[in-house]
């Protein structure tokens, strides 16, 4: 199995790595870099749990070769809070305040997908939220709550930016 030397930029930090060519991004994030915030539920692109942001747009990290991540800005859930102060991102705050999670496994993927949605569409309707997150499965059935959290987050972010 040949290894390739790559540099992955994750949450603003460059990591020099030697990875198997067939290694997926999620495996390299979790096992090589040690960022275990990205979770694995199905490992074959069916559940959205492993979602990270690549150049700001959502991508399934289990369905991407790690080597394909070179030259791109990768953001995992660990990179969402303010990297200096540790302050939670407004979406994270809303999920905390309104209990937007149960077991928490789908939560990182949900939050990042929601962030990408709100960045592109600052005033999503409920239908648009549900559609945008339709590839993220929650076995704990928290769909109603998560939808509310995303709508509230969008509202909070809008109000914050208009101040």
């Amino acid at each position: 199995m040949s290894k390739q030397e790559i540099v992955l930029n994750v949450n603003g930090i460059d990591y020099e790595l030697k990875v198997n060519v067939t290694a997926t991004l999620v495996d390299v994030l979790r096992e090589e870099i040690g960022l275990t915030g990205t979770k694995v539920m199905c490992n074959e692109g069916a559940c959205g749990t492993c979602t990270v942001l690549i150049n700001g747009t959502p991508a399934l990290s289990c369905m991407m070769l790690a080597v394909d991540g070179e030259g791109k800005e990768i953001q995992t859930i660990e990179g969402l809070a303010d990297q200096e102060t540790g302050e939670l991102h407004p979406i994270q705050k809303t999920f905390v305040e309104r209990s937007g999670m149960q077991c928490g496994v789908c939560t990182p993927g949900m939050i990042l997908t929601a962030k990408a949605l709100i960045d592109e569409n600052p005033e999503p309707s409920e239908g648009e939220v549900r559609e945008a997150l339709s590839g993220n499965l929650c076995r704990c059935g928290n769909y109603q709550r998560i939808t509310e959290c995303v709508l509230t987050s969008a509202e909070n972010l809008k109000n914050r930016s208009t101040k």
């Binding site: 074959e44 660990e78 499965l137 059935g141």
Partner: protein, 781 residues
Amino acid sequence: MTEQFSVLGKSVKRKDAIEKVKGEAKYIPDIQLPKMLHAKFLRSPHAHARIKNIDTSRAEELPGVRCVLTHQNVPKKHPQRKFEFLLDETLHHPGEEVAAVAALTPEIAEEALKLIHVHYEVLPAIIDPEEALNPGAPLAHQEYGSNIYKGTQIVNIPRLEEDGWLRLGTGDVDKGFAEADHILERTVESPMQYNCSPMPRSVICEWAGDKLTCWADTQLPLFLLRDLAGSLEMAQANIRIIANYAVGGYGGKSPEKTATLAAIMAKRTGRPVKAVFSRAEDFIGTHHRVSYKNYNKIGVKKDGTITAIYSKILANWGSDTVVPYVCQSSALLGACNMLYRWQNSMAESQGVLTNILGYGPMNGFGDPEAIYAVERLVDEAAEKIDMDPLDFRLKNCMRYGDKAMEYEQVMNGPIEWGILGPDLDSFPELIERCAEKAQWKEKWRGWQTPMAVDAYRRRGIGVSIGMHHTSFWPASAIVKMNQDGSATVLTGAVEIGQGYGTATAQVAAECLGIRYEDVNVILADTGAAPAAIGNVASCGTSSPMNAVKIAAEDAKCKLFELAGPRLNASVDDLEAKDGGIYVKGTSNSIPIADICFTNWQITGTGNNPPYHSIRDEKTGKVIHAYAAAVTIVEVEVDIETGKIDIIELTSGHDTGRTINPIIVENQIDLGLVMACGWVLTEEYKIDPKTGILLNPNLLDYKIPSFLDMPDSNHFNRVVSERPSAWGPFGAKGFSETSMTALGPAIANAVYNATGTRVYCASLTPENILSELETRKEEVSN
């Protein structure tokens, strides 16, 4: 009702929220230990086979492999309450473990599995449970001698009769049927369902000398502890199970023998061993919801009185189970002594062994499976007498004072009927409130009258009630006061995602009169916390949390005893609030922190009172622990494709006392989404010849998504709070109950929409279309 509390009844932030939104919560697969090895399992490709020869030499020689286990080099032990051994020479279902490998990386371990050569002698297998009862059918377990389960050397079900049937009844069903104006009967199967925990099963075992630490994704640390201690022949005291951040088990999630095998490999290699199942492996190597073939017969009078019910349940056990007869006991109650005021009832169940993966408990534990059939037949009975199905439920549903029993008595005896407590007057209340919320009176147009017809689309409305026990079991808890007046709660319960730690902290904070933020809950660490079964059977709120309340009250008593002399007051005149001990009605107080600083041995302990000590004041009878549910659903059916869409959903649940409203709502949603998946989209497809699961992946096993559930404008939750006789502040677990009513409600709504009764198990489009066509043919014949 909740205004008198300071923290109870409030939607406080969850204790585990911040780490979960930051990705810092360390679940078992996230844990990395130095020198850790990775375990993988070789699994049987056959439903029934004997290992004639197994050669692991090439696997052992593969660089990076440190240990290989087969039936030849592990002790012959039964994992708790099971037929099979840890690793067996004879394999009884596809996917059963044949060998285990521990290696430096998961990839090397996988590679090693390919190098293990096994010669199987394929044995005759039995897949279909009805065929399994035919004389001459292959035996699922050849040494057992029968495909009817009757207990084993280590499992005894006292009330299981000689003929292999477990029975329960009241009154006289023959008399009841004789009195009926109409008798109806029906056979309906309930489908299997895969638990689909968001994280596949995982465990890490590490030894320090002769002491074992096991990080286990389990909701049952107590059982796992017994299991490990028994299999490894060691004292429970020397095993520490840590199960924080267990993940959505939805019933019975535990590593079972995976933990023991990992522990053995860790011992032999001197290194920690981690086993993480792949998703496909989790499908075939854990357990699933049992499937029942339900035969029901019901007698009704013209005025809507139910005179009798008879139920016969054939359960497809698969090859083995961790919970022999537990689900059926619950189901027997579901089939004859729950939901309605049955005057005369009889239910019997038999467990049939087959060579498929064995069943285990899953959300609802036998009740949704039985209620799925009963509530559809009840709907037919209501139609027979031309009574509004909602009025029928309202007339007959159980309430305070109706006879009830705890399901363990069904298995073990003695049969002693108690009653439902005043909290179950929530049943009629929920029916009425849900009816109002769902606008039933406006939307129900009568039998055989759909709400709307538009080309090939039909719209209909249906109702069902549901019920489930919320077990009150032994549990212990400790509340220790820290020197600054904050409190640490030690409980054997498990946070499986439902917000358990949060609610527990609210209860303790409320009792102690301190801030919620100043309570920390240590869960699921058998080295630190006293015993509780864990979280299963909706016992969490009822049982371990109740013990926590008792422990907090105990700690408070000790605070009072220390504060009294300093405040010049007797303990009866004291109260705890706002972080201080106050003389009631005055501002005379001492900060709790003050008391704790000088008296740091303040530790409260709590043990639940025995179950039978919870008695009704009026009658002296034991009050049994149940929760009620009512679901009204509107569906749209495409009668050409068979597709069902949920258009409006109203569901009512009783919580006893709502500790945290958001958490309650989240739990209601869990049951509803799971029920939606169970009957509409999730198909557990087993090959009828080989017993192999054909769709062990999430592309082809479809759990509901955001788009499969109605949006907020079409979804209502109704909550009733009538404090139960047990449980902290009267709160009770109800999350399984929320699963019980939606399935049959959908079937009943499909009838209203299409005018066709569907009797299929899964309500998938293909099945619905087939049913519509079959009934059409029957009518024209």
